[in-house]
C-alpha cells in the first residue's frame, strides 16, 4: 500500500477558486485562468503515490508549483480540491487536532533556508518537535542527541545555529526532522542553499541515511542532476501540473513531451547512464564446446575482428582475435584455450559512463560488461558516443 497518495490535488490562490476550478476542468491553461479570474493556479490536479521507503523527487523550475505541492502534503497550505492520503487517512478532511497529530508523528520537514530558531541552541532546535509534544526533558534530550549524532553533529549541541556553516545548519534541520522519528520526510529544496561540494556530500549522506532508516522521502528540487542522483522516482512539474512521473532512466530516455525533453537535454548523461544502458548483446563462443574454427566463422558472420569467450555458465574467460584463430586453423590447433587472450577490460553492470570513459580509452577490443563474473554484454565505442549525443536509440529495453 502506498504511504502517500495524492488524488487530484489542486490549489488555486485567489478570491475566486470555484470559477478557476471550473475553467481548469474545461482545460484552460494557467495563464488564461489568471487573465479571466485573477486567480493563480498553484497546483493543478496532481495525482501520485509514493511507496514506503522510496525517495520521491518532485522537480520543476521556480514557479512550477513544487513548493506548493509539498506544502499541500502536510497541509501548510490548504488544498482547494482533492485528497491527500497518508497511510490511507485523508489529511484534507481532518480537523485541526487530528492534523496536528499526523504532523507530529508522521511528517518531518526540512526547509530550504534551514528555518532554525535563532534563539535556541542546536540541541534545543533539534528538541523542538518533541518539546511541543510535551515529551519529558530527559527523553527529548536523549532523542535529539541521537539524531544529532546521526548527522555528525554530536559535538555541537550547545552552539547557536548562526555559529555553524550552511551545511551544518542544514544537518541540524535534518536532525530536527529526524528526532521525532517520522515515517515521512518532506524536504523542500533542502540542499539548494548549499554550495556544490557540500551539497553532493549531503546527497550522499541522505541516501545512506535512507538506506539504513528506511524513511519515505519527498524531495523537492529545481536541480535535475540532484533529482537524478537521489531519486528513486521523479515527478516533473510545469505550471502546476505534473508532466511526467518515472524513474530517472525513464525520464532521461523517454521524455513524455517537449518540455521534459528540453529539460533533460543539458543533463550530464555520463553521471546517470551506466554500462547497462549502452551495452550490446555480445557475440560469444563457448570454450567448453567450440574451437578456433567456430570462432573464426562467427567473427566472419558478424563482421568483427575479435570475439568473447565464455564457458557453459557464461563466465567470462577471455577473447579470441581473428588473426589468432586463422593462424590456429592453419596449424590445425583444436584447443581454443591455446589462443585465448585474457587481457580483456571488464566493467560491472552498474558502472557509470563517467568511469567507463577512462576504462575504455585506448582499448582496441570491446569492453565486457559482467555481473557476478558472468558476461552480460559488451560496450563498443560507438555506443558510448551515441549515448553522449543523446541518442535515444540506446537500448533502454535492458533496463
Amino acid at each position: 500500500m502506498p504511504i502517500i497518495e495524492a488524488k487530484n490535488l489542486t490549489k488555486v490562490f485567489g478570491k475566486n477558486p470555484k470559477q478557476a476550478l471550473e475553467l481548469l476542468e474545461q482545460g484552460f491553461s494557467k495563464e488564461e485562468i489568471l487573465k479571466k479570474t485573477g486567480s493563480t493556479v498553484g497546483v493543478n490536479r496532481a495525482s501520485f503515490s509514493v511507496e514506503p521507503g522510496e525517495i520521491f523527487v518532485i522537480m520543476g523550475l521556480s514557479g512550477s508549483g513544487k513548493s506548493t505541492l509539498v506544502r499541500l502534503i502536510n497541509r501548510l497550505i490548504e488544498p482547494t480540491e482533492g485528497s491527500i492520503l497518508i497511510n490511507g487517512q485523508d489529511l484534507a478532511k481532518m480537523d485541526k487536532k487530528a492534523l496536528r497529530q499526523v504532523r507530529r508523528e508522521k511528517l518531518g520537514m526540512v526547509f530550504q533556508r534551514f528555518a532554525l530558531f535563532p534563539n535556541r541552541t542546536v540541541l534545543q532546535n533539534t528538541e523542538f518537535g518533541l518539546e511541543i509534544q510535551k515529551v519529558s526533558k530527559e527523553e527529548r534530550t536523549k532523542k535529539a542527541t541521537e539524531a544529532l549524532k546521526m548527522v555528525g553533529l554530536g559535538g555541537y549541541l550547545d552552539q547557536q545555529p548562526n555559529q555553524l556553516s550552511g551545511g551544518m545548519q542544514q544537518r541540524v534541520g535534518l536532525a530536527r526532522a529526524l528526532a521525532n522519528d517520522p515515517q515521512i520526510l518532506l524536504m523542500d529544496e533542502a540542499f539548494s542553499a548549499l554550495d556544490p561540494l557540500i551539497r553532493k556530500d549531503m546527497q550522499d549522506e541522505l541516501i545512506d541515511l535512507q538506506s539504513t532508516m528506511k524513511k519515505t522521502i519527498i524531495f523537492i528540487t529545481h536541480d535535475l542532476d540532484e533529482a537524478l542522483r537521489i531519486g528513486d522516482r521523479i515527478a516533473l512539474m510545469k505550471d502546476g501540473t505534473i508532466v511526467q512521473i518515472g524513474t530517472p532512466e525513464e525520464i532521461l530516455m523517454n521524455p513524455a513531451n517537449d518540455y521534459v525533453e528540453r529539460f533533460v537535454e543539458d543533463v550530464d548523461r555520463t553521471k546517470v547512464l551506466t554500462a547497462e544502458h549502452i551495452m550490446k548483446r555480445p557475440e560469444t563462443i563457448n570454450t567448453d564446446k567450440h574451437g578456433p574454427r567456430v570462432a573464426l566463422e562467427r567473427m566472419k558472420e558478424a563482421g568483427i575482428s575479435s570475439i568473447l569467450a565464455v564457458d557453459s555458465k557464461r563466465n567470462l574467460k577471455g577473447y579470441v582475435t581473428a588473426d589468432d584463430a586463422s593462424e590456429a586453423k592453419k596449424k590445425d590447433i583444436r584447443d581454443i584455450s591455446e589462443i585465448l587472450r585474457t587481457d580483456i577490460k571488464q566493467v560491472e553492470k552498474g558502472t557509470s559512463m563517467h568511469e567507463i570513459f577512462t576504462i575504455i580509452n585506448g582499448s582496441p577490443i570491446p569492453t565486457a560488461v559482467v555481473e557476478d563474473g558472468r558476461l552480460v554484454g559488451i560496450i563498443v565505442r560507438g555506443a558510448v558516443i551515441a549515448a553522449l549525443a543523446g541518442d535515444s536509440e540506446v537500448n533502454y529495453e535492458n533496463v
Partner: protein, 285 residues
C-alpha cells in the same frame, strides 16, 4: 427624523453635546467600575511611592548605579551618569517628586504593556482586528493629550489615577503597533517550521513568535515608557504629583529657575529609563 437632519444641517451636528452626554452616561453607569479602580490603583500608587520613599536615597542611587553598570555590559558611563544625575535631583530637593513621577511612569507603563501586548497579538493574528484597531491607535496618538484629561477627571476625579488613565491612552499605541509589527515580521519559514512539527496556536505564539518578535516589542515598550514620561507634566494639570507639578507651578508663577531645575530632573530620569530599557533589549544580541 427629517427635522433633526435639517436642524443638524443648519445649526451643526451636536458632536460636543453628544460626547458630553456619553461621558456623563459612562461616568454614571460605570461608577461601580471606576470607583474601585480609582481606590485600588490609588492605594497601590501610594503604597509604591511610600515604600520607595522609605528607602534612603543613597541606597536607591547605589542600586540604580549597580544595575546600570551590569546592564550596560560593565561599562562605567551610565553608572556614573546615574549617580551624578540622581544626586543632583536629591541635592535640589526634588527627591520626593522624582519618586512620585517614577511611580506614575512605572505603573502607567506596566498597564500599557499589559494592555498593549495582547492587543498587538490580536492585531497580528487577524486582519479584521488590524483594520479596526489601527485607526483607533491613530486617533489615540494624534488627539492632543490634554483632551484625555477631561474624561479622566470625570471618571476618576483628580489625582494620580486620572493621570495614569491619560498616560495609558497616550502611551499604549507604540507597544500595540510594535507587537503587531514584530509578530508579522517573523520569517515565514520559521512559522511554517513550527506548524509543520505540529505546534498548537499557543505553542507557536509562545515558542516562536514572541521570542522572535521580542526585540521589536521591546523597542515599542521603550517608546511607551518615554511617552508615559512625557505625560507627567500634562498629567500634573489634573493633580498628579511629581516633577511635572513643579514644572507646572513654575510656569504659573513664571519662575524660570525652578522650572529649569525640575525640567532637568525629568530629562535625567528620561535618559536613565531610556538607557535601561534599551540595554535590557540589546543585552542578548
Amino acid at each position: 427624523m427629517f427635522n433633526t437632519l435639517k436642524d443638524w444641517f443648519i445649526n451643526g451636528i451636536p458632536i460636543a453635546e453628544g460626547t458630553e452626554w456619553l461621558t456623563d452616561q459612562i461616568t454614571e453607569k460605570f461608577s461601580f467600575l471606576f470607583d474601585p479602580i480609582k481606590e485600588h490603583l490609588g492605594n497601590f500608587m501610594d503604597f509604591t511611592t511610600d515604600n520607595l520613599l522609605l528607602v534612603p536615597p543613597v541606597i536607591i542611587i547605589i542600586i540604580v548605579a549597580l544595575v546600570a553598570f551590569f546592564l550596560s555590559g560593565k561599562k562605567l558611563g551610565l553608572a556614573v551618569f546615574s549617580i551624578l544625575g540622581l544626586w543632583l535631583i536629591y541635592n535640589q530637593g526634588f527627591w520626593e517628586h522624582l519618586i512620585n513621577t517614577f511611580a506614575l511612569v512605572l505603573i502607567a507603563s506596566l498597564l500599557s504593556v499589559i494592555v498593549g501586548v495582547p492587543v498587538g497579538i490580536l492585531m497580528s493574528k487577524s486582519k479584521t482586528a488590524e483594520s479596526i484597531i489601527k485607526p483607533i491607535l491613530d486617533f489615540m496618538q494624534t488627539m492632543p493629550a490634554f483632551v484625555y484629561l477631561i474624561p479622566a477627571v470625570a471618571f476618576f476625579s483628580i489625582g494620580m489615577v486620572p493621570g495614569i488613565f491619560a498616560s495609558l491612552i497616550f502611551a499604549t499605541p507604540p507597544t500595540v503597533r510594535f507587537t503587531n509589527l514584530g509578530i508579522r515580521q517573523v520569517s515565514k519559514e520559521l512559522i511554517e517550521a513550527s506548524e509543520a512539527f505540529g505546534s498548537t496556536g499557543m505553542q507557536k505564539l509562545l515558542k516562536v513568535e514572541l521570542p522572535m518578535a521580542k526585540a521589536t516589542i521591546m523597542a515599542g515598550i521603550n517608546q511607551t515608557v518615554m511617552l508615559a514620561l512625557s505625560m507627567v507634566v500634562i498629567a500634573s494639570m489634573i493633580g498628579a504629583p511629581g516633577l511635572g507639578r513643579e514644572v507646572l507651578s513654575a510656569l504659573q508663577r513664571a519662575q524660570v529657575g525652578t522650572g529649569f531645575v525640575a525640567g532637568i530632573g525629568i530629562v535625567i530620569l528620561a535618559i536613565i529609563i531610556d538607557r535601561f530599557t534599551q540595554s535590557a533589549n540589546s543585552k542578548k544580541h
